[in-house]
């Protein structure tokens, strides 16, 4: 089967499974909302402080949301050994991985679409005039986050303490991405509302490197 068609067939399956139960989305959004609201009450930042420290908080919330979200990507295939069925089907291994990356991208983007307005409201940070560019930064950061997260979800799927192992493995690899994403978001929230091009290029480079790596490792990752 054509790899692209297989990836979309599997992506539709991932969406159907998630939207039928909404387990991941609900848990992730609620958890991230708690972080954002809790920090607001704990620190009560001024608008200037919020513009400076808010991006860090926002990306920490996205990181935890992403960690929660990618964790069951491969683990849920263990229930009835469905990964074996996918491995036996005449589809490229990368189609299986790409479908999961795409599904996680959509799910995390939905969570972000709920979290960002709440952040704007609670921290008094106006998004007027920067929404398009912010969406681009969120997209690039989220692609890197879910790509790396999905790859590590495949690696840690058979581990006994995978819920703990995944964030521990993930954080060192995602630190450069988080620094770049936070720095770009800070530049956007600043007085000039400008994008930091250097960090933007870094984000694009990170995404390209990790997407290529996931493609190269897909046969190994599918073996479980």
């Amino acid at each position: 089967m054509n790899g692209l068609r297989a990836a979309f067939t599997l992506f539709a399956k991932e969406c159907r499974l998630e939207f039928r139960t909404r387990e991941l989305l609900t848990a992730t959004v609620v958890f991230s909302l708690i972080i954002i609201v809790f920090f607001n009450f704990a620190f009560d930042p001024t608008p200037a402080e919020a513009r400076r420290f808010g991006p860090g908080l926002l990306w920490i919330a996205f990181f935890f949301a992403g960690s929660l979200m990618v964790n069951p990507s491969f683990a849920r295939e263990q229930t009835n050994d469905t990964l074996d069925a996918l491995r036996m089907a005449p589809v490229p291994s990368f189609a299986v991985l790409a479908a999961k990356i795409l599904a996680n991208l959509v799910f995390l983007s939905i969570a972000e679409a709920i979290l960002v307005p709440v952040f704007s409201l609670f921290y008094n940070v106006s998004l007027v005039g920067i929404l398009g560019r912010l969406a681009l930064v969120l997209f690039l950061g989220t692609v890197g986050l879910v790509t790396t997260g999905t790859v590590f979800s495949a690696i840690s799927a058979h581990a006994r303490m995978r819920e703990l192992l995944l964030p521990v493995l993930l954080l060192p690899f995602l630190t450069p991405l988080l620094i770049a994403a936070v720095s770009t978001t800070i530049s956007l929230f600043g007085e000039a509302h400008e994008l930091d091009r250097t960090w933007m290029i870094f984000l694009i480079g990170f995404d390209v490197v990790f997407l290529t790596t996931s493609w190269l490792l897909s046969d190994f990752l599918a073996e479980g």
């Binding site: 089967m1 054509n2 068609r5 297989a6 067939t9 599997l10 399956k13 159907r16 499974l17 039928r20 139960t21 229930t79 009835n80 050994d81 469905t82 074996d84 069925a85 996918l86 491995r87 036996m88 089907a89 005449p90 589809v91």
Partner: protein, 245 residues
Amino acid sequence: MASAAAPSVAKPGLGIRFERIERRFGALIALRSLSLEIAPGEFVALLGHNGAGKTTLLRITAQLMRPSRGAVTFFAESTDQQVPFRDVKGRTGLVGHSLLLYDELSAEENLTLFAKLYALENVPARVASALQACGLSSRATSQVRTFSRGMRQRLAIARALLHSPSLLLLDEPAAGLDRQGLEWLGATLKRLRGDGCTVIMSTHARNESLELATRAIVLAGGRLQQDTGAGGDLRQLLESMRAEA
């Protein structure tokens, strides 16, 4: 359940050659220097006690596991007509210990997903036919998690047969099936044998479907203990194993 509604095998069966296969799990040796050749269209009963290496051999045949040593090759009509691994992938059906089905999807959605992945033509008709064959048409839209063990097993078998495999690997396929289900399984296997599909079935000696087998292989401690050979007399072997069981 109507076995006649199931699709027939379009391609001839696959032959398999195992050359000095060894599989280790740490210190445990599951298969020890196993050499075997199975001709296309053979119906092989794979027998042996728990831990004999039956499931490991089936998983290696399904390319879900690599042997630690040795090689597996697949061939068409004769051993010099090797079939590449990538072609074998889409021509193999597996009914394993696990169901290989998504609990949260309906029976119809599960079969449709795999029909699409195998790039089958006329998917809705094929899925409807498979559901009718396994007697689950009335529960087509019900989620698999609501099914009984027997219904799940029938659906798992229907999924494995959906793409008309040339090589069918069955690991205890009768597990959970009621009398009606066993009759359907027997009729389906009889049809597959008639169509020339290669079947390797791991099961216990009391399974009635064993009467269909053209060859029996007994594993013990990861070694080949007994092989009746193609067209050999299975009756004596089965009787002694049934008496032992």
